[in-house]
């Protein structure tokens, strides 16, 4: 019988075995190649799966079947899509800046893949355990904006330029709440290392793991983080950089064939990466929520959580209509930013209200929870009221019809 | 900060009491004009919390009357720290409760009174700041801290009196109040500096090292200064100067009646409960400094003020001015009490007076509010019918002020008279006080007859028919009459009762005005013993103390006499028209006019102090214009002459050669100006070259 730990570490063991059996001078290289290749293959496969699941899920939410033609239940749809996009003609506008036009999708995908380097997908399953992992993630992620600009500008199409500008404005605006909402976690963990943050949350007391999402600031931070992540990845309802009704398809109007597929891939990869970051920061990474579930391998936990979050993305996409540009910006600056600051404050308060201040554990813990939750809830209500002011829908009045 | 173990939470956090209203003031200063409810809520909320904290402090003082002190280092001078701090003793606790409670009531009352004012938020901002500063005065354990709060009090008083600064009278009154109290404060400042020089500390109590404690006071009493005065006497009198300024003692009383230009809640707050009481409180606070000599001065000043102001009050026609002079008079009583009887006597009257005078002012405000902002009592009359609540509460306040038996004022005033009677130095203050009590009863009766009883003599406070049509005024409040002046039919508005937010504080205050005296009756002198830190019990036997009962009977008789006189003059034949002469005026027009003109004190100041100042200013202006200005002008003429001379030389001698040179310079300049061609890169290039040269020089130098 294989022990639980062995299943948990099966991939790590496999890699070590392969590396062990290669000639010594090549070992480092092989190790790197294996890691990179694994990340690319796994997440590209996940992308393929997600596209079909997204389409099927959306279909079900709209009381449709979704794709069900290629293969049983349409599971081979991504293969058909891949074949289609690979064989399609690659049209480049004559006025386009060819080099930049060519480079943009490559830079985008490359940069997004780079962020996976620090993502802990399981116990001991991190490509690079950087001491400044979170910072690395955001620093590298910042380069996606540039790729978007390259795509939009080089196409020499006003719609694509407008789309790129919108996308950059949106990404910059939402990067601030994104980073700020992860600050409380870093504050509490005392480290920027992703592995360290996960290990912090994997500790258990009373059978319950120390996931950040179980605290009021963690819960609020997680929700804010996911909202910002949705905007950052240009997913619905924040997908107005590619708002078809206004600017056709945004910055990738002029892309077709495989380059278009790359943009598509990058969008999904970005979504996975940022979900992975959210899992790492708030949902305990690869750890189990209850100690008695610890026998389930860590990578199953991670990918389970990832799929849950992806389903959340799909669900939201199936539900919420697209925002308007001014609503988007208002939301970012008048709601998200203050709320993230409040959450940071609440996290500080949480730290301050240790057992010495609020009293022994069961009651003191409840008091601490309630106080911190209140600190977040009160401004939330105020801010929400501020956002909703003037949004009251009045009864429609007809001037001539009545 | 030093925290002995015995210091409880409330003492440690006593600073919160003034800090909260100040914080509320700061917050509401940032509010927009339209955020009225928020600012009022802030002010009232902070005041409410302060009241709760004050009550906690009071409870603490009740449980443990020992003095508790907290000091902290404020600022370093050389190797010395200036220490500030706060203290809690029964005196401060009583004052805290009084100030915060009356303050809260007035805040609530202001809600209604100022409801239609545009600058509602500003008002509450000032009001909160004032309340905070006043509470700061109360808890200060350092004359320096007290002085700082004292000055903030003065500032906010200025701001509040001049709240309606659009009115010239209000602006002038504010200025007058500010400057007059500054005169007193100068004395206080000198006294403070002197005190610091003598004792090296301004902390009142600091476990033996404070300036009010045994060692320091004994040292100062031993030190004799000019005119054979002990230093402590001199310092005490200087401090008393400040107190006199703030409490409106003669001769610095002139600002107080004028201060009635402010909104009525301000009058109530400043001129009844707090700011004017600050002076009395200051004297009570530094009582250990007051040597018998100083106390004598205090007593005499108080007694003179009491009767002086009471006389003037008899002949006033402005409802608030009467109350203002009455306040001055009662403040004199308090000073008298402090001078002859000690802290407890003066403070007891302060506390009871705070309640019933606040009641009277708020009642007057209610009357004014109801009579469409008219303040002249001749234009009132018969208001009992229209404003029953106001009338009832006002009557309570009036009886309390007069010292009607069993009302609050009776007990406190009686204590003062009793103390004055027993004063060993002189019987003069007692007689002055007794006459003052008679006058008090008399003018208050006069006011009651003018305002509430008799016939309605409302001037034609007409309302426009449009307002009636728009139902802005309820139908039962208006009545068509024939105008006496023009003979036309016009619609006049009835006086109306004020809204509940204004009358409810009145009722609460009235209850206090009736009952508060019972905490300090001779039979149960709880208040006095509480201030002294002792315990007491109910003992009717104390009434049998020598001279007490007869004195009470006499003072009651005086009050009845005053009431009777009032009825005789005003109740028997109430005047029918606003233009009718006053009953006293008919008998003694000369005296009445003198009184009505406030005994010409302002005019006296006008022809003495102000005239002197003006003369000095004129003299200085003359000096400036003719002596110094003349000298300057002569020099200027000389220089001008030289200039003419030089110009001649310049034009005909120098220029010939110089112009050419100038042209050359200009040409060079134009050449150089090409360098400044406005191109950034040019400048940058020069910088780069300079950098190269500099670096080269440096490197070359270091090479060797």
């Amino acid at each position: 019988m294989i022990s639980a730990g062995a299943v948990d570490q099966v991939f790590v063991t496999l890699k070590d075995w392969i590396v062990f059996h290669t000639p010594a001078p090549l070992q480092t290289l092989v190790s790197i190649v294996i890691e990179v290749a694994t990340i690319i293959v796994v997440f590209a496969a996940l992308f393929a799966l997600t596209t079909v699941f997204e389409r099927k899920g959306l279909g079900r939410m709209q009381n449709r079947y979704g794709p069900n033609r290629v293969g049983p239940f349409g599971v081979f749809q991504p293969i058909a899509d891949a074949v289609k996009s690979l064989t399609k003609e690659d049209v480049v506008p004559r006025a386009a800046d060819h080099v930049v036009h060519y480079l943009a999708p490559l830079v985008l995908v490359g940069v997004v893949f780079l962020t996976y380097a620090v993502l802990p997908v399981g116990r001991n399953m991190t490509a690079v355990n950087l001491d400044a992992g979170v910072l690395y993630f955001f620093a590298v992620g910042a380069a996606t904006e540039l790729a978007v600009f390259m795509a939009g500008w080089s196409s020499h199409n006003k719609y694509s330029l407008l789309g790129a500008m919108r996308a950059i404005a949106q990404m910059i605006s939402y990067e601030i709440p994104l980073i700020l909402s992860s600050v409380p976690v870093i504050m509490m963990a005392g480290t920027l290392s992703m592995v360290g943050i996960v290990e912090q949350q994997a500790r258990t007391s009373g059978g319950l793991a120390h996931w950040n999402v179980f605290t009021p600031w963690g819960l609020a931070g997680f929700i804010l983080f996911m909202i910002a992540a949705t905007a950052e990845t240009n997913r619905s309802p924040f997908d107005l950089p590619e708002g078809e009704s206004e600017i056709i398809a945004g910055y990738f109007i002029e892309y077709s064939g495989f380059k278009f597929a790359l943009f598509f891939l990058a969008e999904y990869l970005e979504m996975f990466a940022v979900s992975g970051l959210g899992i790492t920061l708030f949902l305990g990474g690869w750890s189990a929520p209850f100690s008695f579930l610890g026998w389930i391998p860590s990578w199953i936990w991670f990918f389970g959580k990832l799929l849950t979050l992806i389903f959340g993305f799909i669900w939201v996409r199936g539900t919420v209509p697209r925002l308007r540009m001014d609503q988007l910006m208002n939301f970012a600056w008048k709601f998200m930013l203050p709320m993230t600051l409040i959450v940071i404050f609440s996290a500080g308060l949480w730290r301050f209200l240790s057992a010495a201040v609020v009293g022994p554990m069961p009651l003191g813990g409840v008091i601490r929870w309630l106080v911190c939750a209140l600190v977040i809830l009160a401004p939330y209500i105020t801010l929400a009221r501020g956002l909703e002011r003037g949004r009251r829908i009045e009864k429609r009045v007809y001037r001539y019809a009545e | 900060m030093t925290h002995p173990e015995s210091v409880t939470w409330i003492v440690r956090n006593l600073w919160l009491i003034p800090a909260l209203p100040v914080a509320a003031a700061g917050a509401s200063a940032l509010l927009k004009r339209s955020q009225r409810r928020l600012s009022a809520g802030l002010a009232i909320g902070s005041m409410g919390i302060s009241l709760v904290l004050s009550l906690m402090a009071f409870a603490q003082a009740l449980a443990d009357p020992a003095r508790r002190v907290v000091t902290f280092n404020w600022m370093q001078f050389g190797d010395q720290w200036v220490q500030l701090g706060w203290l809690l003793d029964p005196l401060a606790a009583v004052m805290l409760v009084m100030v915060s409670f009356v303050g809260l009531l007035i805040f609530i009352y202001s809600l209604g009174y100022m409801a239609h004012d545009d600058n509602f938020t500003r008002f509450f901002c000032f009001l909160s700041l004032f309340a905070g500063a006043m509470l700061g005065v109360v808890i200060a354990n350092s004359l320096l801290l007290l002085f700082m709060c004292w000055e903030v009090v003065g500032l906010t008083s200025y701001l509040l009196i001049g709240f309606w600064f659009q009115r010239p009278a209000a602006a002038a009154a504010a200025k007058k109040a500010f400057i007059t109290t500054r005169v007193g404060d100068l004395g206080l400042l000198i006294g403070m500096v002197w005190l610091y020089a003598q004792t090296g500390t301004l902390l009142f109590y600091n476990s033996g090292a404070g300036c009010l404690e045994q060692t320091a006071v004994a040292g100062m009493e031993a030190h004799i200064t000019a005119a054979g005065m002990a230093v402590s006497t001199a310092i005490g009198l200087l401090i008393f100067c400040g107190a006199a300024g703030k409490s409106g003692q003669v001769p610095l009383h002139v600002w107080l009646p004028d201060a009635m230009e402010g909104p009525t809640p301000v009058s109530a707050l400043i001129h009844a409960a707090t700011m004017v009481a600050a002076g009395v409180y200051l004297v009570a606070r530094v009582y250990p400094l007051m040597s018998p000599d100083a106390r004598e001065v205090v007593a005499w000043v108080g007694a003179i003020t009491a009767i002086f102001a009471a006389c003037i009050a008899v002949a006033q026609n402005d409802i608030k001015r009467i109350l203002a002079y009455s306040t001055v008079s009662q403040l004199g009583y308090m000073m008298l009490g402090l001078g002859v009887g000690g802290v407890a006597v003066g403070m007891f009257h302060l506390i009871t007076h705070a309640f019933f005078k606040a009641l009277l002012f708020l009642g007057a405000g209610s009357v004014i509010h109801g009579c469409t902002e008219d303040q002249d009592i001749r234009n009132m009359g018969g208001l009992r019918r229209f404003m029953p609540v106001t009338f009832a509460t006002y009557t309570c306040g009036m009886l309390a002020l007069c010292g009607f038996p069993l009302f609050a004022g009776f007990w406190s005033k009686d204590a003062i008279l009793h103390a004055a009677h027993g004063w060993g130095v002189s019987q003069g203050p007692f007689y002055l006080g007794a006459v003052g009590a008679l006058l008090t009863a008399f003018y208050m009766t006069r006011q009651m007859y003018y305002v509430f009883l008799g016939q309605r003599r409302l001037a034609e406070a007409t309302v426009s028919p449009a307002a009636v049509a728009a139902h802005e005024i309820p139908a039962e409040q208006i009545e068509p009459v024939v105008s006496a002046r023009t003979g036309e039919v016009c619609i006049i508005e009835h006086p109306h009762e004020s809204p509940g937010v204004m009358t409810r504080p009145l009722v609460v205050l009235a209850v206090f005005a009736v009952l508060l005296g019972f905490v300090g009756t001779p039979a149960w002198p709880w208040f006095q013993s509480f201030l002294a830190g002792e315990s007491t019990g109910l003992d009717f036997g104390r009434f049998s103390e020598a001279g007490l009962l007869p004195l009470m009977v006499i003072s009651s008789l005086i009050v009845f006499a005053g009431l009777g006189l009032g009825w005789w003059f005003y109740g028997r034949k109430p005047i029918l028209h606003a233009t009718d002469p006053d009953a006293l005026e008919k008998i003694q027009p000369g005296v009445f006019h003198a009184l009505a003109n406030r005994l010409y004190v302002d005019e006296l100041y006008g022809v003495t102090v102000i005239a002197l100042t003006r003369f000095c200013a004129r003299f200085a202006a003359w000096l400036d214009r003719w002596i110094f200005g003349g000298a300057v002008r002569i020099v200027a003429w000389m220089v001008t002459g030289m200039g003419w001379l030089d110009a001649g030389v310049d034009k005909f001698v120098v220029n010939g050669g110089f112009d050419e040179g100038c042209r050359d310079v200009a040409r060079g300049g134009r050449l150089l100006s090409h360098l400044q061609n406005g191109r950034v890169q040019n400048y940058l290039r020069v910088i780069a070259v300079a950098l190269v040269v500099l670096a080269a020089i440096l490197l070359w130098g270091r090479r060797g």
Binding site: - | L672, Q676, N677, G678, R679, V680, Q681, L684, R685, A688
Partner: protein
């Protein structure tokens, strides 16, 4: 060549490139970019001296670079805002045409 000297040379080269750009290009934005390059060259110097200096444990050079980056962000923001303002005023961002301040 020691690593430190290598870093310094790279930095000097970068500085000169930035300077050359700032001196020769006409677009105000590129002038600003040149200045940014010069700033970065200086940062590289700090890092190099911190890394190869006597006391790397004091972190001074590193911290200075961090501060310098923060300041550079502010500088870029203000500089570009200035360029925008000038562009709106003069309808050009060519530094050789903006000569209103000439003597």
């Amino acid at each position: 060549m020691t690593p430190l000297a290598g870093c310094l040379l790279v930095s000097a080269l970068l500085f000169s490139i930035g300077l050359a750009g700032a001196l020769t290009r006409r677009s105000a934005i590129l002038v600003l970019a040149g200045i940014e390059l010069m700033l970065n060259a200086a940062n590289l110097n700090f890092i190099a001296f911190w890394r190869f200096g006597a006391h790397p444990e004091f972190l001074t050079g590193l911290i200075f670079v961090i501060f310098s980056i923060a300041v550079a962000a502010a500088e870029a923001a203000v500089g570009l805002a200035l360029i925008l303002a000038i562009y709106r005023h003069a309808r050009t961002s060519d530094v050789s045409e903006i000569t209103e301040m000439k003597g």
